[in-house]
Homo-oligomer: 354 residues x 2
């Protein structure tokens, strides 16, 4: 199978010759060729210049036999498009200079037109589509509304999401208005990404693990569902990923997504039991494992492949690759996943094998 | 029922007149009377002076109708007893000056004699036992071996537990030696706390949520089990608490503990289904909820009480009280839990009511 075909088949619970793999942040700081670009351009220039963003997206594909390319961009770019001042501060990360501090300020948030305001991302995807010729799958992505809202309110990454939760509890009407605007923007953005060539998209709800399941269901789920329902008409597989949400994967699945992305804090076999064995899943190696001896990496891979089974599983890390990850361990992981999963007869643990 | 009786009955899945409540860090910085002591003494002086530690332990009981007193101490005090230099740095928290950096250094870790090296904690418990006259339950506690080991290796609180995980993976034999020493120290410490008057103890595995379930099972569970098995002969209820471990509560229960302490990232009703309805649980209100309007606090309490049911549930927060929590909201929470749970006929959702 060609890598793109393998990845898309796994997302649809169809038979594969071996388990496909890609890694969150596979285009990033652990690669010397990325760091050398980073020395010459600031982050927003890299993300907003289609030729540079496409080059970075392709860097890991020149080194590793990954089955998919993930667009190089940032989950917060749409915040700029809806009216926030976004900066990337070295050693700090993204900073929003004028975050929402009162419920009334939600009125100033716009719904973005992605063609107009995020056109550079769409152009990057068009360039990538030409370069890839359909060999590796091209994955687009966006941040989910809770994750966007938490940056819009906190102004930067937060340990406890205090301001976000307080606005949510104290001004639920304003909260829902904000989430509706962010959901509508995100839906338009992801549809435009598919129109520009993305063959799958991932919705990152990176910080939603800060919430109780009841708060998730009340304040977040309806808005994530708007996006996930609205993407069905595109026909491409949608991966719905959250961190720290092991207690509510059923709720994530209820919000939608063809594939549920898991972090490493759950046994992938137990997750499949809870979701129903036919529900495709992605994950779930602890990114820190790539700093361990290769013997440990291989053991962990094997355990995940055995627990997940050969159908409906996209191998990935449970979160992004760490900046000091040895490049040779990434190559080892990719090869190990393909080799070990070829040894397991496809469909051996299920009855839906064609 | 007297508060102590109510708390102990809930820990043993026996009928109660209403749901008992205590709160992690109920003796702490949100109380003005604690802050005024903090202005006069540094943290280690407060923790190591039995009269001061007992006074602080009792402060919340003078304000609120909580059902238990939790010893004022710190989970890291045993690290000092086993040979580490422990300091508390304002704005930073606990710091270990010479953490373990190589596997060979595990040899320098001692097994502590709690009578000798942690006698001030035992004296605090004896003072408290006299003061409480058995009205409120007296809870002792200790940090679990993984949480202690992570401080011994990282030297301070960590975002990703990188050094800890790397030692664990690269030098498993040294890791297990370290964990055995910490488990033996912790077991002796908790047995001594019971002998000094603790009527229940809580084992805090605060940071174990950083691990995958497989790593937990391989590197941590056997050592937590040493402690939890070894405490059975004391006859007192043991609460086994972890944060961020929603994906592996069954494994925590397999390690042991009469009561499983839950953070807020799981529905308490779903947790009881997974653990078996008869397994007592503690939790699980998001501590941030105490900063919300009282109407929200009451709604969240009600949902937890309904989902948990009236038997085998100790109400608590999912983690410690935040320093800027309004005192009046704590009083509101305690009263609301007692009032709402009195309205639910005890035993209404189970068949084991006497």
């Amino acid at each position: 199978m060609r890598p793109a075909e393998r990845f898309l088949a796994a997302c649809r619970n169809q038979p594969v010759d071996c388990t496909p793999i890609w890694m969150m942040r596979q285009a990033g700081r652990y690669l010397p060729e990325y760091r050398s670009l980073q020395e010459r351009y600031d982050f927003l220039t890299l993300a907003k210049t289609p030729e540079l963003a496409a080059t970075i997206t392709l860097q890991p594909l020149r080194r590793f036999d990954v089955d998919a390319a993930i667009l190089f961009a940032d989950i917060l770019l749409p915040l700029e498009a809806v009216g926030f001042d976004l900066r990337f501060v070295p050693q700090v990360g993204p900073v929003i200079d004028h975050p929402i501090t009162r419920a009334e300020e939600v009125a100033r948030v716009q719904i973005a037109d992605p063609q107009d305001q995020l056109g550079f991302v769409l152009e990057t995807l068009r360039l990538l589509q030409q370069e890839l010729h359909g060999k590796q799958a091209l994955i687009g992505f966006a941040g989910a509304p809770f994750t966007l809202a938490s940056y819009a309110i906190e102004g930067r990454s937060s340990k406890d999401y205090r301001k976000t939760k307080c606005l949510m509890w104290e001004a639920p009407q304003a909260w829902h208005q904000l989430m509706e605007k962010l959901a509508e923007t995100t839906l338009r953005y992801l549809r435009a990404q598919v129109a520009a060539g993305a063959q799958a998209v991932q919705l990152f709800d990176s910080w939603v693990g800060a919430l109780s399941p009841l708060d998730y269901t009340t304040y977040v789920l309806p808005h994530s569902r708007t996006i996930l329902d609205g993407l069905k008409e595109t026909g491409v597989p949608v991966i719905h990923f959250a961190v720290g949400a092991s207690g509510m994967i059923e709720r994530l699945a209820a919000a939608g997504g063809d594939v549920i992305g898991l972090d490493w804090r759950i046994d992938i076999g137990e997750a499949r039991q809870r979701l129903g064995r036919d529900h495709p899943v992605q994950g779930n190696l602890d990114p820190m494992t790539l700093l361990a001896p290769q013997q440990v990496i291989a053991q962990r891979c094997n355990q995940i492949l055995q627990a997940a089974g050969p159908l409906g599983h996209v191998m990935n890390l449970g979160h992004g690759i760490l900046p000091d990850t040895p490049v040779e361990n990434v190559a080892f992981l990719v090869n190990t996943v393909h080799t070990l999963s070829r040894e397991v007869p496809a469909g051996s643990s299920t009855s839906t094998q064609g």
